[in-house]
Amino acid sequence: MSIISFSHVAKQYSAGVSALSDVSMEIAEGELVYLAGPSGAGKSTLLKLIAGIERPSAGLLLVSGQDMRKLNRTTLPYWRRMLGLILQQHRLLNDRSVLQNVMLPLLVSGASIKEAAQRARVALDRVDLGNKADLLPQALSGGEQQRVSIARAIVHKPRIILADEPTANLDRDSGKRVMDMLQAFHTAGVTCIIATHDERLLHNADRVVLLEHGRVIAMHDAASEVGA
């Protein structure tokens, strides 16, 4: 069953720059999809559309049955709570401890501090950072910060994880560790959509969507080769 459905979706920025053109595809629940392609291909824009950060300029985008153009300022935050976002720049709050950063998605959803702390510690244990819960993010390495951002993305048990270049700026070992974790969440049934230009990662995917100049130029299922 499809959880995300693109139908002739386009995204054009106000300056007339076309970021995506005529994208049509379905993503099934529990699928692991890689968005591949060079910088500027439209991978991040596609993730932003799914996250509701940007709105489609044309076409129909349904995420979990919700028409993304119909979400407004009031309904969008509630809808976002089913997403786990892993961003390239981590975007951790540096004046809060690692634990407090991971608690945020729970706190904004109305969980008590006690409950949020308990669940955040479990999430940090899952990314092997349980012993660094009380440190500030700056005290961690890039790889560790990315793992904190993964813990923050999964702490509220999202239905969909969106990851934008999760291994960028990480060394090979840290990158592998991050990808193994995402693979584990996928195995647990979470839909994962990962934008990357690192071709070494693509072999794990159920599907690879290859983008170029804002267009889908190829789709590759696990059973076939990457190609048009």
Binding site: A51, T74, R80, R91, L93, L104, V108, G110, S112, I113
Partner: protein, 307 residues
């Protein structure tokens, strides 16, 4: 419970922001507090003056002083002449005869001039009538009251006629004018308070734009993000209101001694009292509301900017 918890957490978050920059907070409280002191002082003084002005006779009142050579019997008989003049002009009046002995006793008792009056030996005061217009100033025009004064002054045996209510009316008018000016000033300074809170919260929100943006990405609603700023604005307003009340109370305490000395010279016990509890509570409510409104306007703008 969830709702209460969210508000409690927002309040704690506002306190945390105050703790993070205590100097800036105190400075802003002082600025807003000082802006509130001026209208608050004016309100306090007016609040004290209003009852004084109200207690004074604002009804048109004429004092008719008779010649000292007029005998008591003739003086008492003049009441009919006075009434007749008033009737001619169709002005309803009441008359009160104050004999010279009664006036002297009153003067000795109330004016603080007992020693001076005693030293005079004989009574220098004339017999007098007080003529009050029934229905007050609203019933009879000032022109007609002046006509009455002229007519009475022409009666044989009348030495002089004094229209007593004029200065009282002027005082009442001045108090009303001061009150109106004060409300205008207070409105302007409310604008100042709003502007200061708006700017303070705007700066605070802009330093936290990244946090706001991350929170929104994680599913925080506008209300969740805004709430701590509303509390911060309300805290600013509340603290500034308390500071203003304390400054005004200190100012009154400092000036009251001089006011008491001055009042005593006029035989009065008048002193300036601080605003009552109800008025203080109302003022604090107004300053808290202004703080929250300023914060609301500011944070709404910051949220749009953060999108």
């Amino acid at each position: 419970m969830n709702w209460l918890r969210e508000h409690w957490r927002a309040l704690l978050s506002a306190f945390a922001r105050v703790r993070a920059t205590p100097g800036g907070f105190v400075f802003n409280v002082l600025v807003i507090g000082l802006a509130l002191v001026l209208p608050l002082t004016g309100l306090t003084v007016l609040d004290n003056l209003r009852p004084v002005a109200r207690d004074l006779a604002v009804e048109p009142e004429l004092s008719i002083f008779l010649s000292t050579e007029v005998a008591r019997a003739r003086a008492q008989a003049m009441e009919a002449d006075l009434r007749q003049q008033a009737k001619k002009l169709s002005i309803p009046v009441t008359l009160e005869f104050i004999d010279r002995d009664q006036a002297l006793t009153s003067m000795k008792t109330h004016s603080g001039l007992h020693d001076v009056v005693t030293a005079l030996g004989s009574n220098p005061l004339p017999d007098a009538y007080v003529v009050r217009v029934v229905g007050g100033a609203d019933a009879v025009s000032p022109t007609r009251i002046t006509q009455l004064a002229d007519a009475l002054s022409r009666i044989d045996g009348v030495e002089s006629v004094q229209l007593d209510s004029v200065w009282v009316k002027r005082l009442a008018a001045l108090v009303d004018l001061a009150s109106l000016s004060l409300w205008l000033l207070a409105s302007t300074l409310c604008g100042v308070v709003l502007a200061v809170v708006f700017n303070t919260i705007r700066l605070q929100a802009y330093t936290q734009l990244e946090e706001i943006s991350v929170m929104r990405l994680l599913g925080a609603t506008d209300a969740y993000v805004s709430r701590p700023f509303y509390y911060l604005g309300a805290l600013l307003g509340l603290s500034a209101g308390v500071v203003a009340l304390l400054l005004v109370a200190a100012g009154l305490a400092a000036t009251n001694q001089s006011v008491a000395v001055l009042a005593k010279l006029y035989g009065s016990q008048f002193s300036l009292s601080p605003l009552d509890v109800k008025s203080c509570a109302l003022l604090l409510l107004v300053s808290v509301t202004l703080g929250a409104i300023g914060a609301g306007l500011s944070v709404r703008r910051a949220l749009r900017a953060g999108d």
